[in-house]
Symmetry: C2
């Protein structure tokens, strides 16, 4: 059996629970987040939205960017990196592109508002784009793709990040891993591609190192400049590989330059001059499928392709082929019913915030 496939089916475990596992009801988790956010000075409506985004992220199984990330977010508020009361403001309208300034506010609230605005623009002109400067980490990238898909829009969105990956041919981490999302409406199970430009995140490499395991594929360079699957070696050089080698390096650079130019915000290179990852630049593009005359035919076309994928022959030893985002609905329903799996220590930590 191909190692590749074994990995595919372990991807949910990569963002897994580390310590003793327990389950917490979605509403309980959300209320707890609301309590902490209010205590830290967030406004009423913003608290509800922000807590929902965090809780829904864990509910959908993206544990690394839901509950597990929440204490870091609160720490950023306490340190003033995330300005808890700040709201994004309109900087300029240019046809179907708008520039918004995130004013260093909470990244998920800024991103949600930007995507909402891009969708509103797209309802008028089929395509709407918001370029957002001066914002913070948006947590789960896919959240805003799902928002687009729920509004019957294709969503194409990305962010730049702090420098954390060398360009192809270079040793210094000058590029970001710049996560990119493409979302396509498909009933209650949208196609959701949510990928960073590095092969593995630092978090995932640390997980592999902790378990003394090799990465399933080359993930970066060792000190001799050879490609390696050894997570410890990569964590030493800080030279993760871009997806598709020179291809992901080019993509990362282009996404960064487009985000910074359209928003008038900082490039990854400029973000690197700050001591923390803040004041990043993002792009939110919405394309309204409901504007098109053949909306029903579009639905059938998407369905046909996805069905062909799902009915196709899997790799040696594998089960059915899945499209990206397909598993989310099942995880969400299971976690709604059974409670969201959490690491007891992290949950306790949040309850003490």
């Amino acid at each position: 059996m191909c190692y590749v496939f074994a990995y595919l089916h372990r991807r949910d475990l990569v963002d897994r629970i580390e310590g003793v596992m327990m389950r917490i009801a979605y509403e309980v988790m959300k209320k707890e987040f609301e309590r902490v956010l209010k205590k830290h000075g967030m406004g009423e409506a913003e608290t509800v939205r922000c807590a929902s985004l965090f809780a829904q992220t864990s509910l959908d199984g993206v544990y690394s960017h839901g509950l597990n990330r929440f204490p870091v977010f609160i720490d950023y508020i306490e340190r003033g990196v995330v300005k808890v009361g700040a709201k994004s403001s309109l900087e300029g309208c240019f046809g179907c592109l708008e520039r918004w300034n995130g004013n260093e506010g909470p990244g998920n609230l800024n991103a949600y508002a930007a995507m909402e605005r891009a969708i509103a623009l797209a309802k008028d002109t089929t395509i709407g784009c918001v370029a957002l400067s001066n914002t913070n980490h948006w947590m789960r990238a896919g959240s805003y793709g799902l928002l687009a898909a729920q509004s019957d829009c294709i969503g194409i969105l990305w962010t730049n990040t702090m420098p954390n990956m060398p360009p192809w041919g270079g040793k210094e981490p000058l590029l970001g891993n710049n996560p990119l999302v493409l979302a396509i409406p498909h009933g209650d199970s949208p196609v959701l591609v949510d990928i960073a430009m590095s092969m593995f995140s630092y978090g995932k490499m640390m997980n592999y190192r902790r378990e003394g395991k090799e990465l399933p594929f080359d993930g970066g360079f060792d000190e001799e400049g050879n490609c390696t699957r050894d997570p410890a070696a990569i964590l030493k050089t800080l030279r993760p590989l871009p997806i598709g080698y020179w291809k992901g390096s080019g993509l990362s650079l282009a996404l960064d330059l487009i985000a910074a130019t359209l928003s008038g915000g900082l490039t990854t290179h400029e973000v690197g001059k700050i001591s923390v990852e803040a004041t990043v630049s993002q792009v939110f593009l919405a394309i309204n499928l409901a504007s098109l005359p053949d909306r029903k035919a579009i639905e059938a076309k998407i369905e046909e392709t996805l069905r062909a994928l799902k009915e196709s022959e899997p790799v040696e030893g594998g089960s059915a082929v899945h499209f990206p985002g397909e598993g989310t609905k099942k995880t969400r329903e299971e976690n709604l019913k059974e409670g969201i799996p959490v690491d007891e220590d992290i949950w306790k930590k949040v309850c003490q915030l």
Copy 2:
């Protein structure tokens, strides 16, 4: 020294001249293309544009999609796959998105017209998008990105293709390699990312096999379902790897679905029902930087990032770091001065068409 880097500096050789090399002046090559195209029934203005696109592609060093591809293009005209006299026609306007039908005409002419139209739309509304159905292979993808950049627009464009790559977790080639271009204005040396979603093209794998060489990285699966660098094994299974494994698989699927839905054209799955690669779907998105109030600051921002890349420390044994598209200007100038390097046999073949 990392094998990776040795490969980087051999990339120009991958699309190399196979037989006896000679050099042909740009104008001579263009005139020869014009002669053949006219003989095959192409109109006056279309002939000039089509010949220029082919000759400029070779001039820029993308030999595989210039002269070397020209005989295939003529064969497609002769077989009626490319309808030599057909022009694209407007199917509908939806805000800043337009749908055009390529009417099975020459792919490079359709793509050029589509990008031109997207740029014209972007001059009005900052963002312009043309979705093109029913068109043919656009030859060099980068051509239309360069056109956007020359018009002071960011260009984001892609095409779907015939099915030629299995989805992640599957064995059957249901996805296309769906080339994607991102172009960013930067004087006479734009940033040009021009990448297919498969790690290596079939043409490149055949070159490696012919030379009895391994691929520099895993390029696909062998018959046992293991990832391999053996080009012969991959050419046997027809299971090339997507860039970034599951990531490129997701990207390919999303690009296909977006192109087919926006254009109302065929998906890769539908193209696969035809015996040749034809009637594909494409998206051309232009974003007009000249619409923005800080055009000069944008220029400085791009320049600063590119300078940082170029001044950064290269990998072990490597020379300077380059940005994608950087080498094109030099190749173009050299080929203009010295003549375009061609394979004598292919050149003779074109002269006999």
